[in-house]
């Protein structure tokens, strides 16, 4: 391709763009093109490496490029308040796409119980799991369909199935609903009387920018909690520009087990804030309006009581 562009020449390429009917645009100096052609050659080589966009899975291609250019910081880089030696799971280049949306959508199958336990899929690439869940498409924003349209389809599919947890991997039509979600963060504006929500907002104390998570992509609390942990406890958002958030010091243990500095709560249809995890998943789905990752210190007195690891009640029931 070097040869191809060389033939086109420096000035030809640049100036042709100026031949439009726009009369108010000033002509840009051709000087730019000269610099372009003398752009460092090594860039060529590095770009050639790794980025296998032309073929092969998007995920794998990305990982190798990022491996060269810089690491994504993972939980291992940060000290945790409560040691969880088995928890190495998340971010090893799991961003097969650049947006958090994929991370949230490509949920790991955990199969763990609610109490803290080693994550069974540790080390496994999320891309293979997402294939399970998302069918052929593990790519954010593909096919290019608006979120409200997808949610509408999902709601129609859900209308005919029960709200109990289903196991993964079932190929029947009714499970298409859970497979439908690979599109990450967009709120569902068509949450209707049946309570079938798609994307709900998630805010975390101390973080100015909220996120959205698609509840339809999950069939259990564990997967939801893991997704949220990946979303909020990674360090990838530039810490300095967010005013020095203490994200890295928040530990990574299960948001559901009450051990971490944060707990996961939700606002239900009546406007009350409840702890996530106490009601059956289906009931939770039909009543949740939005989520909040709250500091444990503020969570006292919320909803039903929850217990710490030693079984001691550390908050009063409402």
């Amino acid at each position: 391709m070097e040869g191809g562009l060389g033939l086109l020449g420096v000035s030809g390429g640049g100036c042709s763009g100026a031949s439009t009917n726009e009369s108010t645009v000033s002509k840009v100096e051709v000087v730019v093109d000269a610099e372009a052609s003398s752009y460092p050659i090594e860039a060529e080589l590095e770009l050639g490496l790794g980025l296998s966009i032309g073929g092969g899975s998007v995920g794998k291609g990305k990982s190798s490029v990022w491996g060269e250019c810089g690491r994504i910081l993972t939980a291992k880089d940060f000290p945790s308040l409560v040691s969880q030696p088995h928890r190495g799971h998340n971010n090893n280049n799991n961003n097969n796409n650049n947006s958090n949306a994929t991370a949230s959508a490509c949920v790991a199958v955990s199969g763990t119980k609610r109490a803290a336990e080693p994550v069974s899929h540790e080390g496994e690439s999320p891309t293979s799991i997402s294939k399970l869940l998302c069918g052929s498409s593990q790519v954010v924003g593909w096919p290019p369909i608006r979120a409200y349209r997808i949610n509408s389809l999902v709601n129609q599919a859900k209308a005919s199935r029960s709200e109990e947890d289903k196991s993964f991997g079932e190929k029947d039509k009714s499970n298409d609903a859970s497979k439908k979600i690979c599109n990450g963060n967009k709120t569902n504006a068509t949450g209707n009387e049946k309570g079938h929500l798609g994307f709900v907002k998630v805010n975390m104390d101390g973080v100015p920018i909220g996120r959205k998570v698609d509840l339809n992509a999950h069939t259990s609390y564990e997967t939801l909690a893991q997704t949220l942990e990946e979303m909020f406890f990674r360090s990838t958002p530039p810490v300095s520009s967010m005013g020095g958030e203490k994200q890295q010091s928040a530990n990574l243990s299960n948001l559901l087990d009450g051990l971490s500095e944060f707990v996961l709560t939700y606002e239900d249809k009546e406007g009350d804030w409840m702890l996530v995890g106490d009601v059956p998943w289906g009931m939770f789905l039909s009543s949740v309006k939005r989520l909040r990752i709250m500091r444990t210190s503020e969570a006292n007195g919320l909803g039903p009581r929850f217990q710490d690891r030693n079984g001691i009640q550390i908050s009063k029931p409402v």
Partner: protein, 584 residues
């Protein structure tokens, strides 16, 4: 100022200009001479800003002091598919705040893909005494509280259209904030809302607004309430139903059918969530006069769909799910000779295997049978070069052609060749093509075709296509009228961009994500071209922390006279002269 003897007095010129509405024409007028510029700017009443960051509110207000209608667009188109992270920008509040003082007589605000807060809505409600039209298309950031403020305060409101916006739906109570004395509603679109509004409030509102012509209800309005609403508004021209599903009951059916028959002016229908075939015949009486039908939420199957469209001989626009199948599209081609626009959406976009028999043949049939067809959006699972070439030959009047094959990089399924020639035929035959989205396996050759032939092309969307920078170069150097280019997951890098850097200032915007444009090239572009904002989006952290050759995640370049913006979130960096300093 020197006046030519033959020049018209200002008043005459102003009167003449008042017949010119189109922006391009107005812009052309203002360029004739200084006096025309002055006259024109004082009498321009409507402005359109295609990219809210291309210009600043004070600049607009300074030039056009007497504006009555404003249209703004915010986020890039790919935000629709979740490629733009939240917090990116597109905030309307600064505009509203500036206009609140500058344009007290503002009547119309139309926004697309912008972040609108309740504060902004409240400010609108109290600042503009003659406010008439609010259209929020694909917007977000506001709740039903903001809507309540609008309903309560805008006495002269004619149009409230929330199409496809994401609303924090706290309750349906906001609708009841329209005072009893309010009767000027002409158009209401709440189809994106989830909550139930008070049906009696809705019925009373509809009943007391004699000029109501457009009513798009939300899903929460049950079918058995529809008849009552229709009976109060027999003058309706456009209707969006709520849920179109109920137990089949003869009395419900007959009152519904009667209500529809009474709406002699009805030309456009939408809604139809959960549609059950049993209630479809209720609309048969009005089908022959329908010009627009949106069944894209209706899960009815091809037999019922075929029966339905076969009666809509006046149909000009059809949006439908792929349940219509090839057989339904053949019927469409046979009966709907006035069809101008067709959109076919996938019912199971993530399924591996096709669930319906919708192929390239359906689109070919419609292209053969419908001579006025010029706008197409088609999701399918297979395509051939031959089919595309046939479509192109059949419909040289095509202006918008958007094809999506569900599987990325799918080749011609018969020859296994790339679809280069098929799309080449499209751009070659359809000389007035303004918008194109491509799909399937595509090499640099298709871009060569586009660069050579697509001279009227204004917007191009590319995904998973091309082999090298040459592809991008063909487009940037050949498409003279290109305004918007959006690219994802293509192996396009620095060279084509840098060689065609001047082109970028002639376009509204360029989006590139998951491509191979290096951080160094972005910096170079930003530094060298003064009136471009080169924004790099990277959620991995500051691009300066990685080698310059490292490709950026997302790149959004747009021309602007307002300089770099200051409302960027932490994951967006602007490349400009200072960027070298700031990013180290």
């Amino acid at each position: 100022m020197l006046r030519m003897a033959s020049s018209f007095p200002e008043e005459v010129l102003e009167h003449v200009f008042s017949f010119i509405y189109d922006d391009k024409d107005r812009n052309a007028i203002s360029m004739v001479c200084k006096s025309w510029y002055e006259i024109e700017r004082w009498c321009r009443r409507r402005i359109f800003v295609g990219n809210c960051y291309a210009v600043s509110p004070p600049m607009v207000i300074r030039r056009f002091p007497e504006v009555r209608s404003v249209e703004l667009k915010g986020k890039p188109h790919f935000a629709d598919f979740n490629l733009v992270p939240e917090g990116w920008g597109g905030y309307v509040y600064p505009w509203i705040a500036a206009m609140a003082t500058a344009y007290p007589w503002l009547e119309e605000i139309r926004l697309k893909r912008m972040v609108v807060t309740d504060e902004a809505l409240e400010l609108i409600a109290k600042s503009f005494k003659n406010f008439k039209v609010l259209v929020l298309s694909s917007c977000e950031g506001f709740s039903t509280d903001g809507l309540a403020a609008i309903a309560a305060n805008c006495r002269n409101l004619k149009e409230l259209d929330l199409r496809e916006s994401e609303v924090d739906d706290l309750s349906g109570h906001w609708l009841s904030h329209f005072p009893d004395s309010y009767t000027s509603l002409v158009s209401l679109n709440i189809s994106c809302l989830g909550s139930e509004v008070s049906f009696s409030a809705l019925e009373r509102l509809v009943g007391r607004c004699p000029n109501l012509r457009t009513l798009r209800l939300n899903r929460a309005v049950p079918l058995d309430r529809l008849a009552n609403i229709l009976c109060r508004a027999p003058q309706l021209v456009e209707l969006g139903t709520g849920t179109y599903s109920a137990e089949l009951q003869p009395d419900v059916f007959s009152s519904l059918a009667g209500a529809f028959s009474g709406c002699k002016e009805l030309r456009s229908l939408s809604g139809f969530w959960d549609a059950v075939p049993g209630y479809l015949p209720a609309i048969y009486p009005i089908c022959p006069s329908l010009t627009s039908l949106n069944l894209s939420y209706a899960t009815i199957r091809s037999t019922d769909l075929t029966k339905l469209v076969s009666q809509c001989q006046s149909l000009q626009r059809l949006w439908v799910l792929d349940y219509i199948e090839d057989i339904g599209l053949e019927a469409l081609a046979a009966f709907c000779k006035d069809l101008r626009e067709l959109r076919v959406f996938p019912s199971e976009p993530f399924a591996q295997e096709p669930n319906v028999s919708l192929t390239e043949q359906g689109l070919v049939s419609v292209s053969e049978g419908c001579p006025k067809l010029h706008s197409v959006l088609y999701f399918c699972r297979q395509m051939t070069n031959d089919a595309l070439a046939t479509i192109a030959r059949n419909r040289p009047n095509m202006t918008r052609f958007r094809l999506c094959i569900i599987e990325p990089r799918a080749p011609d399924y018969i020859t296994l060749q790339p679809l280069d020639d098929g799309f080449g035929a499209i751009v070659e035959h359809c000389k007035d093509l303004q918008r194109l989205s491509m799909a399937g396996l595509l090499t640099d050759r298709v871009f060569e075709h586009i660069g050579n032939h697509a001279k009227k092309l204004e917007m191009l969307s590319v995904a998973f296509a091309g082999d090298s920078d040459l592809g991008l170069h063909h487009v940037l150097s050949g498409c003279e009228n290109l305004r918007k280019l959006e690219i994802r997951d293509c192996p396009f890098g620095d060279k084509a961009l840098l060689v065609n850097a001047a082109k970028l200032e002639t376009m509204r915007s360029l989006w590139m994500s998951s491509c191979s444009v290096s951080f160094g090239a972005c910096k170079l572009l930003g530094q060298k071209i003064p009136r471009l904002n080169v924004e790099v989006m990277d959620e991995r952290g500051p691009p300066g922390s990685r080698p310059e050759s490292c490709p950026v995640e997302k790149l959004y370049i747009y021309r602007t006279v307002a300089g770099p913006r200051f409302d960027m979130p932490g994951f967006v960096w602007t490349m400009d002269e200072d960027s070298a300093l700031r990013l180290s």
